[in-house]
Subunit: 365 residues, 2 copies
């Protein structure tokens, strides 16, 4: 599940690591990848925070030429220009692609943490990144970019580590989850939890169910109407498990099945539970005592980009507007870009081309 990619580096942070929820970890390792010459000490530093699902492999490199999850936006001459920036992407604390998480070995017992792994908060993920940057000798980050959960982590990094960040880009994320997003993630966790502690096949089934519900919330009715319509799937494998004599599944059902199967093979269920819950609990207004403008003012940012799409079910455009308004009210220069795209929350991946110009412009400083 956590086969080490050749480009992945590891950073051991001195412990213990105290968590917002009261737990503590005796030791923390963060996995990361880096692009742009690390020797070029004078170059500006860009930190990329990942969504819930991907690893730190955001882009290819000489050490690992396989395409990363934001490949088209990272590289020479691209929006996140590796000729201009030193770019770092960290796998989050609590994740399962190399950073300390539930699938790591607890040094106190010599066994995997599993369900005993403590609850983590978005602020903990940000604090671990902040300490890792310190260990790398980076005092202040010139730009932080984060899509989806990464947008929350980027916000937390800016708000909770004063003057750690100069410029912040929040992509397809918002100050706090609304009840619709909470309901969807809460149900994912409840269904998954009901499958844990059983044989591996059942655990994977729970992961498939949770992921299918996730996929429903990551895309949009508009995209699926065009992409699938009422088309049926003709692959004979797609017939498995349907009542005898029934019609073949709709193409959308088979799409969910193949995507969810793949995810269930590669993601740790306990990581999923913790990162998902952290997203629901996060509220950017917390450091302002519930006052968002005050919280945002505390970050002392030079510039902010808030960008997302019209069809995002998890972080709808009025939430982007409200975050941008908060920054404006706090006296921070902010650019709001609500992009017309049919591909929903996942547009930053599925329709990345529409994020290219806003990111390029934001990073021209």
């Amino acid at each position: 599940m956590t086969g080490v990619e050749p480009a992945r580096r590891s950073l051991a942070l001195p412990g213990p690591f105290r968590l917002k929820g009261g737990g503590r970890l005796p030791a923390v390792t963060l996995a990361y990848e880096a692009w742009g010459s690390p020797a070029a000490g004078s170059r500006p530093v860009l930190v990329l925070c990942t969504g819930l699902s991907p690893s730190a492999h955001a882009a290819s490199s000489a050490a690992d030429p396989s395409p990363g999850w934001w490949e088209p936006l990272i590289g020479t001459g691209r929006a996140l220009d590796t000729d201009r920036f030193r770019i770092f992407c960290f796998n989050p604390l609590g994740g399962c692609f190399g950073s300390t998480g539930p699938s790591s070995i607890d040094p106190l017992t010599g066994e995997r943490y599993g369900a005993r792994f403590p609850e983590i908060a978005i602020e903990d993920i940000a604090a671990a990144i902040h300490r890792a940057l310190g260990a790398l000798g980076i005092g202040r980050v010139d730009a932080v970019v984060g899509p989806s959960m990464g947008g929350l982590v980027a916000l937390a990094l800016a708000l909770h580590e004063p003057r750690a960040v100069r410029r912040l880009a929040v992509i397809s994320a918002a100050a706090a989850a609304e009840p619709f997003a909470v309901a969807i993630r809460s149900l994912q966790r409840e269904i998954l939890s009901a499958h844990l502690g059983q044989e591996a096949d059942r655990v994977r089934r729970g992961m498939r169910f949770a992921r299918k519900l996730g996929l429903i919330s990551y895309r949009s009715p508009v995209e699926w109407r065009t992409r699938f319509g009422r088309r049926r799937e003709t692959d004979p494998a797609a017939r498995t498990g349907r009542p005898a004599g029934s019609a073949p599944p709709f193409a959308v059902e088979w799409y969910l099945e193949t995507r969810a199967r793949d995810f269930a093979e590669r993601f740790d269920p306990e990581s999923y539970l913790r990162l998902s819950r952290a997203m629901d609990e996060f509220d950017a207004a917390d450091p302002g005592g519930g006052d968002l403008e005050r919280a945002l003012a505390g970050a002392g940012l030079e510039a902010v980009l808030v960008a997302g799409v019209t069809t995002d079910l998890l972080y709808p455009s009025h939430q982007l507007e409200s975050l941008a308004r908060g920054f404006r009210g706090s006296g921070t220069p902010v650019e709001l870009r609500i992009i017309d795209s049919p591909t929903g929350h996942d547009a930053f991946l599925a329709d990345w081309v529409r994020f290219e110009e806003p990111l390029r412009k934001f990073l021209e400083f």
Copy 2:
């Protein structure tokens, strides 16, 4: 689960009853309720088709004064005026509130059908209603009104029983489900199916999961934002099952839990699977060989109302527009009403007041 309400009547239809999917039922009983004097033979007849979840108890009566699921719209002087119409509401074939369904006794074995109950189609539900009307001596129906699944049944009744219906009101429904609605219902069925054949507690848990996902699709992010925000639930019972030391659940999570628990107690899982699948498979264009206008023209309707709301996730407004366009193209007079309401698909229940005027006007003939 199927305690008989005093106003409920039963109609045994002569068998066998052949089903669209190839199955057959040796005998079919339909449960229904009626309002307005049945003796007044010259009064126009209105048939109300239910959504997936409710019983035939759409309104109170002398025999059963408990409020029905569409109480505010049915009665003396109300939009569905019991002084003007004889009104009949049928529990669907395949349901679990008195009509033949999976929880009924199979006369051939003396045991409940359960999982052996055949697949049913929306057209089968409509055909059973058509035969029941014949048995009641009603040759032609003056108006059929159906919300949600009832809208599909109403469409099927009009399209598959030529000249059986004069006027048709399709509420919060459309010609066929789009992939987003199919994905949500398909996942509900898959999760529920994984819990069947186990102890009763686990089956109920599967029903709770399926229903929670249903509730997410029945309401809207807009409503929940205002109603719940990020409020926490303080009821101590709401703490059950959460990780020790974690924050209390969000109000939206507890709302889903209490609503889903209630549903799991009263609805039959095998009924749920069949009615849900029937909704996905239905396509009003079928009798036109895939040509919707031709199919709709075949119904020979005098007037049609298509009404729904702006925030419906299952049957979004462009689908209402498309159904209305189909009727217009088929030469049928049609009124399209896209109502501004925050309460999503369930608006016909939660925000019934906005449907009063369109229904009243439609029924003034």
